[in-house]
């Protein structure tokens, strides 16, 4: 660098600093004056709209590069994702046969109607968006960030969404539940909306029908104490689930007791095990005797017929659901609840083949209603 240029450097730096300071002051005065119109009703200028969308697309695609999607063609995963989509996403994003709510349509930016116009995101990009949400758009992050398994269920469903019509969508999202049309009086006076009324049954079934997805637990005939504890743990977030927490947190007053009593009194229905794994000797041994050499206690000591009503009964439960919970505990999730604190260390001692064996064993057992025991 020449001597002359070196001498000019301080002057250039001074200009740059005062320029930046002036810009900051101008921006502050702009915001302070209130000239900028924050109205959602007026929309963005086209150029700004393009610029924001351009930045958003690039940000999502950069951050999604570190993610690898698992296999997403399991029908259980798709059904679980569909049922959650119906309650959690359709209000803003619409669904086949369900238009975007007029309220949501007047947000800025207005949420895309995913049934008709979903951008060609990759699975990993969709996962990132559903998990983290998008700033300044109203798209929220997932309630339980650590539950990637739940988020992938939603992505599995979103992949199927473009090929669904209204009828196949309802079959997927609402399962066997028949929502009876509410009377005029009920519509006029009941606070909860009719979509919410069937919220539990969408996933868990009701009356004589069980869950449509093997990833969802069968609640029929479970002890009410266990069901109430689970709902309260979901509601306060100590048991993490982006699907269950918003629903459980909505329950007020005596809802928890009434719901628990309802499911506890239903007769458990055999749903055929979908794992295809035959119950093994190892599964039976773990359940009945445990594996003392590896400090694994027998499951039946707590989950058998004589266990406390605070514990779930496992006979006839969905294997995929049980295995999923064991893996969550082993990975250190929801270990702070009363039951989780007991199960987490035990789950960590189970190998993957152990998890498959013992869940297949319980899934193949005939369930017995907890009410049969005093």
């Amino acid at each position: 660098m020449s001597k002359q240029a070196t001498r000019r450097l301080p002057r250039i730096a001074a200009w740059l600093v005062s320029g930046a300071a002036g810009l900051a002051v101008a921006l502050f005065v702009f915001a302070w004056s209130g000239i900028y119109n924050v109205a959602a009703s007026s929309g963005h200028w086209a150029a700004i709209d393009w610029f924001l969308a351009f930045g958003m697309r690039n940000s999502v695609s950069l951050r999604a590069k570190a993610i690898t999607a698992p296999k997403l063609d399991d029908p259980n995963l798709i059904r679980l994702g569909a049922a959650h989509f119906h309650g959690g996403c359709a209000f803003c994003h619409g669904a086949p046969g369900i238009p975007v709510s007029p309220i949501a349509r007047h947000m800025l930016p207005s949420p895309p109607d995913l049934a008709t116009s979903m951008r060609p995101w990759t699975d990993e990009e969709l996962f990132w968006i559903v998990k983290h949400g998008i700033k300044y758009t109203g798209m929220p992050g997932w309630v339980a960030l650590e539950r990637a398994d739940e988020i992938w269920a939603v992505i599995a469903f979103l992949k199927r969404l473009p090929e669904l019509d209204a009828k196949s969508y309802r079959a997927l999202a609402l399962g066997d539940v028949e929502l009876a049309g509410q009377s005029g009086q009920a519509l006029a006076t009941v606070e909860s909306n009719p979509q919410g009324a069937g919220a539990c049954a969408r996933c868990h079934g009701a009356e004589s029908s069980g869950p449509t997805s093997a990833l969802v637990p069968i609640l029929h005939g479970q002890p009410p104490e266990f069901l109430m504890a689970a709902l309260r743990e979901y509601a306060d977030g100590s048991r993490s689930s982006g699907i269950m927490q918003p629903l459980a947190a909505d329950l007020g007053g005596q809802d928890v007791e009434r719901l628990a009593a309802y499911y506890a009194n239903l007769v458990p229905k055999r749903t055929p095990s979908t794992t295809g794994t035959r119950p093994s000797e190892r599964g039976r041994a773990l359940a009945r005797e445990g594996d003392p050499a590896n400090a694994i206690p027998a499951c039946d000591a707590c989950h058998g017929r004589d266990g406390l009503a605070r514990y779930p009964r496992l006979a006839g439960q969905n294997a995929a659901y049980m295995a999923g919970q064991l893996r969550l505990w082993a990975a250190g999730h929801h270990a702070s609840t009363g039951g989780g604190a007991i199960m987490a260390p035990i789950a960590r001692r189970l190998s993957e083949p152990d998890i498959e064996a013992v869940t297949a064993y319980f899934a193949a057992l005939a369930s017995e209603p907890a009410g049969a025991k005093p």
Binding site: P292, P297, A301, L308, R310, G338, A341, I342, I346
Partner: protein, 330 residues
């Protein structure tokens, strides 16, 4: 002398006071085996001190001494005799003496007739088993009761990793090695409680893996042993009965045995006579209903990393009932 000058050595001197305790001190032998080890130790200290004094004198003489002394110290014969021959003879002699002195502590496993106690080190507690021949098995945990004045044969095992059994007041330290049985003979010359400690790092709460050897007079020991053979007593009160029901319903029996009930687990300590023990959670708290309740609920705070999950599911009344039941198991 100023106060400042007089105090510089105090931190060093006071830190040495830590060695003055009676507990877990090899310098306070309370049994024949420990006595022999202490004799050996004192002999070694004395011999080592004498050798050190001679070396220091020789070093001074080699620098400051008269010419003839320095010539002797610098000679090749001095190196051969004092540097090679003397250490070889002295160390060989000491080794022989050490083996001879401790020969009785390395118990002969073939010797029947005497009291045998099997101690198994587990992460992070001690399973204590009194073989009774044809009689009922006696199992307890973390405390070992022995009769005064008898030499007891210990069989030491490990269920997982290497532990080391050491009760310094009573004798030497012997490793517990997975897949092997090691032997140790110990005894106490007077009644008392002698603390022991796992002396080989075994992970997690190793530092809290302590035990107590309780030496009792012969008649009291026989009474204790007789009581241990009994099945668990029936709960005497309604609250204890409720405690038993909760204990079984909560699945405690999957890990713990209470002989005489459906609880037959072998993963954790046998609780058949928990109420007759001195402590809860491997010597971390004196035995009481409150400390039992606290260990059930907050065991991971009292002894972090232990294998028992915290049972926070109990309502306060229920927890009290379970603790009442367990404390009454005498």
């Amino acid at each position: 002398m100023t106060a400042r000058q007089s105090c510089w050595y105090l931190p060093v001197a006071t830190s040495l006071l830590g060695g003055c305790g009676w507990h877990q001190s090899v310098l306070n032998p309370e049994g024949q085996e420990a006595l022999r080890l202490a004799q050996l130790a004192w002999l070694l200290f004395g011999f080592g001190a004498a050798v050190l004094a001679i070396v220091i004198l020789a070093a001074v003489a080699a620098v400051r001494g008269p010419e003839p002394v320095r010539a002797v110290l610098a000679s090749a014969r001095m190196v051969v005799w004092a540097g090679i021959f003397f250490p070889a003879v002295a160390l060989t002699g000491l080794l022989g003496y050490g083996v001879w002195v401790t020969r009785a502590s390395i118990a002969d496993p073939g010797d029947g007739g005497q009291l045998r106690i099997v101690v198994t080190g587990e992460q992070w507690w001690w399973r204590v088993h009194y073989p009774q021949g044809a009689g009922p098995a006696i199992e307890t945990a973390n405390e070992i009761r022995i009769p005064v004045g008898r030499s007891i044969q210990f069989e030491l095992r490990s269920a997982d990793v290497i532990h080391s059994f050491w009760v310094p007041n009573l004798g030497g330290k012997v490793d517990m090695i997975p897949g092997r049985t090691t032997f140790l003979r110990l005894g106490a010359d007077r009644e008392g409680v002698f603390r022991g400690q796992c002396a080989e790092y075994c992970g997690g709460p190793h530092a809290l893996m302590a035990l107590e050897v309780i030496a009792m007079d012969s008649a009291a020991f026989d009474g204790w042993l007789q009581n241990q053979t009994r099945l668990a007593s029936d709960p005497g009160s309604a609250i204890a009965r409720r405690g038993r029901e909760l204990f079984l319903g909560a699945g405690c029996g999957a890990c713990h045995t209470v002989r005489g009930t459906a609880a037959g687990g072998t993963i954790g300590p046998d609780l058949t006579h928990l109420g007759a023990r001195r402590s809860v959670g491997v010597d971390t708290a004196a035995l009481s209903e409150a400390s039992i309740a606290r260990f059930i609920r907050e065991g991971q705070h009292i002894k972090p990393g232990n294998r028992m999950p915290p049972f926070r599911i109990f309502a306060p009344d229920d927890l009290h009932a379970v603790a009442t039941y367990l404390a009454a198991l005498r």
